[in-house]
């Protein structure tokens, strides 16, 4: 059975370590396999490793038992040499995956089916970092001169960037970048019998334009698309041959506020920063009508959020995620109390091609802020212009979305809460800086007592929520549109793994 698959973008390269990016990994997941993998529900399950965990005697060393009897598409056998090779390769200079592995000190292969990874301190979430780390055949790499990772920025094209030889359920039969990639079920796959594997052929076409993608699904030219625009879900669902399935995505959307600077550049208040006043932030948080955004802008395809953390993440609680009441009068009172009863003006920076209905959400927010006297000028731009502004601290009020591939709060803190320094806080555009919190965040990395670690996480979240560091909007919902003959659940990371798909 052939499955025609379309999504917005194409994989950028077939070299599994050259890019750390959604569509690239999505294709790689069909061809290559990591040691362990998240199944379609987000559960971590064995792939090329069957067992893993830190050694009881030394928390700095993790041991992985490898699966036996696995072969590559070209028939070569899989063993620990390959894992050793792949991990080293992924740590090399040109690899885009090396950040995920920077806690690793040494990798050892005591025998053909065992791997030991030593980290430079206890790393409780090491396994989380390996779910997208694909294993290549050392022999194949050497034979084809692709031991080195493709130097992406240097513009190298290598054998590995155009060809693939993995242990995965599908092997590559042809590829024209940005237009068509064809895959075929791999006869020698170890998981035969274990997984449905009902799809025998995959034709993958990127279709950038959402309307065209939907049209292609409606016309039956493709069987499976990702990223269905929310307004078209009804139309797709109504089609008797098609259906839509959805699941919460591992991504939360929120606004950031510059609360640290003495004065804002985009406002009309001289010499003071209205956002520095917690009452203003509180008022703004209350002014946002998340219900309305969900109903009208998102057409029920979102989950209103009270915290800047997707529900999958370790540290999430229902209490944190309760949404603030939408009380305009109270909000107005707070603003007046803060001394801005006559209102003020500020600019909201917003992407218009990054998140689902990002611009519309911002527009809605403009109206809501207007109701409590804050005049917001909306500056909506493509992502390539929007995100650098956050990075360069050029914006006072901005939209940001955050996904957490490690499913752990530390990841959020590191990037969004920690003071902006060389290696941490790179996405923290709030100018918030609290040495206590920073210290707590740093401590998380080496805390092996998970209970203690969770407690620290909760403490940090309490502080973040109390400060109203971010104004959360909602958690995105993923939608997959597909022909009725396809049966699957939605992967929270938006990576379909076709070996799990069944057909009616």
């Amino acid at each position: 059975e052939t499955l025609n698959w379309a999504r917005a973008g194409d994989s950028l390269t077939l070299d599994p370590h050259a890019q750390n990016e959604g569509p690239t990994h999505a294709l790689a997941h069909q061809i290559y396999e990591p040691l362990l993998i998240r199944d379609m529900t987000g559960q971590m399950v064995p792939a090329l490793a069957t067992e893993w965990g830190p050694n009881a005697d030394d928390p700095n060393v993790w041991t992985f038992k490898l699966r036996e009897g696995v072969t590559y598409h070209d028939g070569a056998a899989f063993d620990s040499e390959d894992v050793l090779f792949s991990l080293e390769r992924a740590q090399s200079e040109d690899s885009d995956m090396k950040e995920l592995l920077n806690s690793i000190k040494e990798v050892r292969a005591p025998d053909a089916s065992t791997i030991e990874i030593e980290t430079d301190g206890p790393n409780p979430i090491l396994a989380n970092n390996l779910t997208n780390l694909f294993i290549m055949d050392k022999g194949w790499a050497e034979a084809n001169d692709v031991v080195k990772v493709q130097d992406f920025e240097g513009g190298e094209e290598t054998f590995a960037s155009r060809n693939a030889n993995g242990t995965g359920p599908y092997k590559l039969t042809s590829r024209a970048p940005d237009s068509l990639t064809e895959l075929e079920a791999f006869d020698g796959y170890w998981g035969k019998g274990e997984f449905p594997l009902e799809i025998t052929k995959i034709k993958y076409t990127p279709i950038k334009n959402a309307a065209t993608r939907v049209a292609a699904l409606l016309s039956g030219e493709v069987d499976f698309i990702q990223d269905v625009p929310v307004q078209d879900l009804g139309r797709v669902d109504a089609d008797e041959n098609l259906k839509v399935i959805k699941a919460p995505q591992n991504r939360v959307i929120f606004f950031g506020l510059n609360l640290g600077d003495d004065d804002l550049t985009t406002d009309d208040v001289e010499g003071a920063n209205p956002f520095a006043d917690k009452r203003v932030r509180q008022a703004m948080n209350m002014a946002i009508n998340r219900e309305a955004i969900m109903k009208v802008v998102m057409r029920d395809q979102s989950i209103p959020a009270g915290v800047a953390m997707p529900p999958f993440v370790n540290g999430w609680t229902e209490a944190l995620d309760t949404i603030p009441s939408n009380d305009i009068e109270a909000a107005k009172a707070l603003v007046a109390e803060a001394g801005y009863g006559d209102g003020f003006t500020v600019t909201l920076h917003c992407p218009n091609d990054r998140y689902i209905n990002d611009e519309a959400i911002c527009q809605a927010a403009v109206g809501m802020m207007a109701q409590i006297g804050i005049t917001v000028n909306l500056d909506a731009k493509p992502k390539a212009q929007h995100f650098p502004q956050i990075n360069n601290l050029e914006t006072d009020f901005y939209m940001l979305g955050w996904g957490v591939p490690t499913y752990d709060s530390e990841y959020i803190f590191n990037f969004l809460v920690h003071t902006k320094t060389e290696n941490r806080g790179s996405w923290n555009g709030t100018r918030y800086s609290n040495p206590d919190i920073d210290a707590k965040i740093v401590s998380l990395a080496s805390e092996t007592d998970l209970a203690k670690r969770d407690a620290t996480i909760a403490e940090i979240w309490a502080a973040v929520q109390d400060e109203i560091l971010y104004l959360p909007i909602h958690h995105q919902v993923l939608n997959w549109g597909m022909s009725n003959k396809v049966e699957t659940v939605v992967d929270p990371e938006d990576v379909p793994k076709f070996k799990y798909f069944t057909l009616n």
Binding site: A211, V214, A215, L218, P229, Q231, D232, G234, R235, T265, T266, D268, N289, A292, I293, K295, V296, V297, T347, N352, E359, A360, C362, Q363, A364, V366, G367, M368, M369, A370, Q371, V376, N377, L378, D379, A380, K381, P382, Q385, H386
Partner: protein, 305 residues
């Protein structure tokens, strides 16, 4: 008074009075322009005032009460709960201004450049036409981003919104002038070799008068064709550029932006968001083009039939 009478008596006015199509399309165009100018007076709502919007009014069907709020809108509302009718009226202000100004700007630069290039020839021609080649290489998106980026450096924050409009006009105009310039140059090269130009030189006409009084009227037909046909394009271009973040903010949608928003609802059943603004643009483009057709014929004495 006298000049009014003379104007009324002119061939152009006469031909206008005798062309039903011209009268009809002029009326339509004028009504649209008037409606845009008077938008604050005639629009039932002010869609550009965010405080007056209620998001829950979003996607109201035309003339049906909204499921949440019970409000009813003549032409329905868009995704933000803006009254489509009022948004069209307000949006036309931006679209018409940007569209007309950009086309006129492009036309003036293009026609002057083309005429000068053709008439002067030689090095002047080469320079102008090579500048045109450079210009052709850059689509309006890039030009707009460049101008916007540069202009941003010079304008204070509170003037940015006003500036955005001018950036749009200049960028669209700049990417359109070459078409005028090259067409005018081509036509003028032919005209220039004709005897009436030689006659005008002998009379003592200077180059400027020859270019504008003699050659220009004779190359005006293609200019009018391109200008009228470009108007709708410029209005749409404005929407594209605004989407790229160089134009009017999305909270103040122009006609083009409204159409762009509406396009998203093509499959989903909210047809009114797309249909009404598109019809308005169509009507505008149609009337301007028909008016252009009439003007072209009226300016051509030989077609007096």
């Amino acid at each position: 008074m006298d000049s009014v009478k003379r104007a009324f008596d002119s061939d152009l006015a006469w031909s206008f009075r005798h062309s039903p199509v011209a009268i009809l399309s002029a009326t339509v165009a004028l009504l649209l322009i008037l409606a845009a100018v008077c938008a604050p007076l005639i629009a039932p709502y002010n869609p550009f005032d965010p405080a007056s919007l209620n998001l829950m009014n979003g996607f109201s069907r035309p003339m049906e009460p909204n499921a949440f709020t019970g409000d009813s809108f003549l032409l329905g509302t868009d995704d933000q709960g803006r009254d489509v009718l009022s948004t069209i009226l307000y949006g036309m202000r931006i679209s018409l201004f940007v569209g007309f100004a950009a086309v006129v700007f492009a036309m003036i630069i293009g026609v002057v450049a083309g005429l000068v290039a053709a008439y002067a020839g030689g090095r002047v021609d080469a320079i102008i036409m090579r500048i045109a080649d450079v210009q052709l290489t850059f689509p309006s998106i890039l030009v707009a981003m460049l101008i916007f980026g540069i202009a941003k450096g010079f304008t204070p924050v509170h003037l940015r919104d006003q500036m955005a409009i001018w950036v749009l006009i200049i960028s669209i105009g700049l990417s359109d002038w070459v078409q005028f310039a090259r067409v005018v140059r081509g036509a003028a090269l032919v005209e220039k070799s004709k005897e009436y130009v030689e006659a005008a030189i002998l009379i003592g006409r200077g180059p400027i008068a020859i270019i504008f009084r003699h050659i220009l009227p004779n190359v005006l037909s293609p200019v009018l064709v391109i200008a009228t046909i470009s108007l709708a394009l410029a209005i749409i271009a404005e929407a594209t550029l605004s989407f790229l973040g160089v134009g009017a903010p999305p909270t103040r949608p122009s006609l083009g932006t409204l159409i762009r928003i509406g396009q998203g609802y093509l499959f989903s059943g909210e047809w009114w968001i797309l249909l009404f603004p598109s019809l308005t643009l169509l009507l505008l483009a149609l009337s301007v083009n028909l008016l252009g057709d009439w003007l072209r014929d009226a300016l051509n004495p030989k077609l007096g039939d």
